[in-house]
Point group: C2
Chain length 255, copies 2
Amino acid sequence: MNPSNQRLIYRKNLDANTTSGLCNNYLQANLITLPKQYAFEFLLFCQRNPKSCPLIDVLEAGNVTPTIADADIRTDIPKYRVYENGVFSKEVLDICDVWEDDFVSFLIGCSFTFEKALKRAGIRMLHQEQNKVVPMFKTNIPCVKAGIFEGNMVVSMRALKQEEVMIATKITEQFKTSHGIPIHIGKPEEIGITNIHAPDYGESVIFDEKERLPVFWPCGVTPQNVCLHAKPTIMMSHAPGHMLITDRKEEYNSF
Amino acid sequence: MNPSNQRLIYRKNLDANTTSGLCNNYLQANLITLPKQYAFEFLLFCQRNPKSCPLIDVLEAGNVTPTIADADIRTDIPKYRVYENGVFSKEVLDICDVWEDDFVSFLIGCSFTFEKALKRAGIRMLHQEQNKVVPMFKTNIPCVKAGIFEGNMVVSMRALKQEEVMIATKITEQFKTSHGIPIHIGKPEEIGITNIHAPDYGESVIFDEKERLPVFWPCGVTPQNVCLHAKPTIMMSHAPGHMLITDRKEEYNSF
């Protein structure tokens, strides 16, 4: 399935599952949409926190068409979340009803982009095998503040065999706009994660803790966590794990 | 003279000359200050035009102290320019009178930062020898638009011997936040410069055109040119060639 046809399925509300594993090697993106009054401070937040918030596109006020995808960002994502005054309000299949002409949209790289490259190197993606949304956790790693936007980083977790960790690091190092190398390996309690089987976003994935280490990458859901503190009047995002699939291929060297 | 003492001279209005050649190897910066309503689109403009506008610091609304210099950006630059509705209004020694609490300030890297490195490699800086403000020119090279901000790039010019061009390129490649490598070499008419002795900013520098090539670097005065079209109600900047000297040393490998 090419990105264009896959997005059409979402536009018609024919599917609302996770995009992990879909449209191999096409760059996937997190969405954050905010009223223009918050746009400067949020753009600055992204610039100051490039690991969790690597910007790949910014749509100016009212614009719904990214430069990196022939898409309508109001309809072409499988599932959205709406936050009002910092509180999760609802999950919806499109955001046409709440759309305003002064909304600015930010597209942030996603770790789903490098999963195909990891699989090609023989690394199993257990969340895909178990049909789960990748597990994501709030951490105690502080972001750099920008205006009202401050808070801790969210990370995604994949459990790898120890010999796979270096290979995964070498591969993901090349995916700079998709979070790059892991932020932490093996000791979730050190970054404030108390229960590896109770993720804050996504779903728990079963793995053999004797055989595998939990490996954590910075995650584009970070702004949804930061939003809880910043309390913008309204903020829209993709539902975690349900990304915008773009038309851009991310190139890398295999190992 | 260290940056702190040099800035004190400007704060006391004891000198208002070009900062080229002062405080060797300390990063020098262009200043753009705008009301917050323009901050998002200008930040996006910088992000989309990193060659001419490499951001090295952003001071949030009302803040006057950069993170990279223990300075007051309203007073510690030798000379400022004020633009109103896109028209140059006046040149002043400080901007305290016009300061408002919602002003956002942007510091952009400056090619003066790499001049000491070029001199160390034996490359003469003719504008310094002739006590001139480095010549700067408007070009026909378009910037990438962001909101109201659009227009052509401004470049600074240094005349080099042909064998120095590759050395200068190798050196300035390392100064990524100070515009990096040249944008054009040797054919000013190709980038819309009709008279190499009539710069749009700074002063004309005499050189032997049989012996030397004009070499052009992207310039942080670009926003002052772009502003003519964008027409923000008010915009403040350093006077071209009269930079903020920061406390940060820029490291590089000599050749």
